[in-house]
């Protein structure tokens, strides 16, 4: 069975409310390395990820996966996790059910996923009473159960404290080790360094730089970001 990668973005643009948010981006995402999308707020990271994942349709250009049926073999984790008013276990089960997994194996797979993220003890608790960090771990468990080939993460730890952040990063590493391609946006350089093999730097809807993780940025914009300056003045 062919993998869904590489993913090709061909001259993709996205405009909304008269503004161009993504401006003619062309790139390819290959299997193997974890990709970090860096950029200041408003650069278009969230929109770019949603275009890749298929939640948004481009205004121009094409988003092309390697094979058909790629829809089912990806997952996404958002900055704020959205949980159903059910138990933690039921939330993971819901995702498996949506993916068409047979009833007989669903509970086992759900429990395995919860165990992977360290939430097995909380399986019966209502998902919505869990803490922010626990809910985000639950979101990752939900994604884990699906064994996706690509996992998109949109600033997954932006709302979490350092302790919870560390736990989330460990789980992301586990995904990476299991062979899932990580595509993650963040505005934390430290996190990018810890988790990424390569980086795409986004500035006002353009890709201005892309490289294996850079010690010295080549472009002025990237350099300014690394130095911690505000991107436009």
């Amino acid at each position: 069975m062919n993998g869904i990668l590489p993913l090709q973005l061909e001259d993709v643009s996205y405009a909304a409310g008269g503004r161009k948010i993504i401006d003619r981006v062309s790139l390819a995402l290959e299997a193997g390395s974890s990709t970090i999308i860096l950029g200041a707020n408003g650069a278009g990271k969230s929109v770019l990820m949603r275009l890749m994942h298929g939640l948004l349709a481009p205004s121009a250009g094409r988003v092309v996966w390697n094979t058909v049926g790629a829809r089912r073999r990806q997952a996404m984790v958002f900055q704020r996790p959205v949980m159903l008013r059910r138990s933690a276990l039921a939330n993971v089960d819901y995702a498996l059910q949506a993916a068409g997994v047979a009833p007989a194996s669903r509970e086992r797979l759900a429990r395995e996923a919860l165990a992977e993220v360290g939430l097995l003890a909380a399986a019966a608790r209502p998902a919505r009473v869990l803490s922010g960090g626990e809910q985000q771990r639950l979101a990752l468990a939900r994604a884990w159960a699906l064994h996706p080939e690509v996992l998109f993460l949109d600033e997954p730890t932006a709302s979490l404290d350092p302790g919870a952040t560390r736990e989330i990063e460990n789980i992301i590493r586990a995904f990476d080790a299991a062979g899932t391609k990580i595509v993650m946006s963040t505005h934390s350089l430290g996190q990018a360094r810890r988790l990424g093999d390569e980086v795409i730097y986004l500035h006002q809807g353009h890709v201005v730089e892309r490289a294996r993780f850079f010690p010295l940025p080549a472009t002025t914009e990237a350099a300014a970001f690394v130095k911690g300056e505000l991107p436009w003045a």
């Binding site: 949603r50 829809r71 997952a75 959205v82 008013r85 949506a98 993916a99 209502p126 939900r142």
Partner: protein, 231 residues
């Protein structure tokens, strides 16, 4: 006013059989109507919330407007339908509780559907991305959201129940206010008012309000308990 209060209390205290017959029928009719309207209206509202089709905005406007259907007009329309001289005369439903349930269902359905549509549409903003990421879309997604906001929907159902138990125009026309058969609280109050027995009418009115209050309090407690349990 005081006489009304004491009349009402006396009716309740003496367990007046006729009163409880009337109360029982009122609850049976209105609760049945609300149950039917909920069964049809909730999925309808959810589907309308997430569906996209030409004329959708017009449908929403009409549905919202139907919330204000005058009960007496609905009663008249159902009467003409169920009359022996009308298309559904064969059913022999006129002047029976069945006709009253039908009329109140028609009255309550737009309320439940319109309010559910709004609730689901608002919630959909929160759930949409995550559900679509999981491959859940369309009606399936709408029903998932519908179930997830079930405790908020309790308020929608209560709005429908309020409308049903308060109206008199529809049940009077299609039920005929027959003593012991189709007499409910509101039609009994109307009758006593027209007979000039105002204290009794007011007393009955207070019993009706007390019952509706009790139902609402009960629903509120359920909602509270659920919020604490499920978050």
């Amino acid at each position: 006013m005081l006489e009304a209060l004491s009349t009402g209390l006396r009716l309740v205290a003496t367990l007046d059989l006729r009163l409880w017959e009337i109360v029982g029928l009122s609850l049976a009719v209105s609760l049945s109507a609300v149950a039917l309207a909920t069964l049809v209206g909730l999925p309808l509202g959810a589907a309308l919330a997430v569906g996209r089709f030409p004329g959708r905005q017009a449908v929403i406007v009409v549905l919202n407007a139907l919330m204000g259907l005058p009960p007496v007009v609905v009663g008249l329309a159902i009467y003409l339908l169920l009359s022996r001289a009308g298309p559904l005369g064969e059913l022999g439903l006129l002047f029976t509780p069945g006709a009253m349930v039908l009329a109140q269902t028609v009255l309550v359905l737009p309320i439940i559907a319109a309010l559910a549509r709004q609730a689901v549409e608002d919630a959909w903003l929160e759930y949409e991305e995550q559900l679509r990421s999981l491959g859940v879309d369309g009606l399936r997604g709408a029903l998932t959201v519908l179930w997830d906001i079930r405790f908020s929907l309790l308020t929608v159902v209560l709005a429908g129940l309020g409308r049903a138990s308060a109206e008199v125009g529809a049940v009077m026309i299609v039920g005929g206010n027959i003593d012991g058969v189709t007499r409910v609280m509101t039609t009994a109050i109307a009758l006593e008012t027209s007979k000039g027995d105002l204290p009794l009418a007011l007393g009955l009115g207070m019993v009706l309000i007390a019952i509706v209050l009790a139902l609402n309090a009960g629903a509120h407690l359920i909602r509270d308990a659920a919020a604490r349990r499920y978050g």
